[in-house]
Homo-oligomer: 182 residues x 2
Amino acid sequence: MNFCSNCGSPIAIKTPPGDHLPRFVCEQCGSIHYKNPLLVLGCVPEWEGRILLCRRAIEPRRGFWTVPAGFMENGETMQQAAARECHEEALARVEVGSLLAVVSVTHAHQVHVMFRSTLITPEFAPGPESLEVKLVTEDEVPWEELAFPSGEFTLRRYFADRAQGREDHHFTELQRRHRIEP
Amino acid sequence: MNFCSNCGSPIAIKTPPGDHLPRFVCEQCGSIHYKNPLLVLGCVPEWEGRILLCRRAIEPRRGFWTVPAGFMENGETMQQAAARECHEEALARVEVGSLLAVVSVTHAHQVHVMFRSTLITPEFAPGPESLEVKLVTEDEVPWEELAFPSGEFTLRRYFADRAQGREDHHFTELQRRHRIEP
């Protein structure tokens, strides 16, 4: 941030009175521009025991596999965001189920929230952000070709819970280049 | 948003190629400025069966009661944000426990995430944003003087779960002037 989005004046970085962190402050109009974590919403879509994965057509991590997920928009709930992302990336309609994973990606200023979901029909195809979309069994998950650690954490917990007949939710914090323990 | 925070040029509102929603776009430098939901983190701090409430010293809803909560900052986890807000507003140290409530406040572009927590010691006092902080029993909760519907939803579910010996989590979407069913 270089300029005030309200008045267009150059911005300063300083801690406002009564605050405890440096902020982007406009000394011309007095606006304070806060930067806060972004929510990424996604789901693990299931159909008859298999789950739907997308191969990314865009950077970052083009060509790698991911669960359908993306930035939450204003005006929607978490569940609506998860379903919308699944439709955009995999042209698939899901019913969103229980909460599965909450991943703080602190270095990226993001929180990834993942739900279980069920495909309403077994129809899907690559959306504009995907090269390929497919249903896979647990044995077929391309663990070495997953795009993001949060997706790997999500899938590991999904299968571990499923094996035990549970639907728990799981918190974790992921640092840069974090390795997920299976 | 009137000006580009990157280059200071006037901003336009248009749907970028490949996108499906209007965004704040700079036609000078090409920056797209997304607006996304903000996370508000809070907790219900408990000590020997009573819970800690704060009476707000600031607007909005100055003079009304709330659970300690506030905007999540970059670089912290949800649980760290909930504990920090409790320390700022009530000068109290808590151990954050299970997830309690996730409230989509869609009209305000916010998601409120509330946890159960336990006071580490029964020490507390008003922080700069609070007029008063006190431990109350369920019967003493000032239901008619609560600041926010998300706080009322959180407290209703907290006590209902506690009465059943459960620690569930609860999703809801709150519209403007929503009434919470006890």
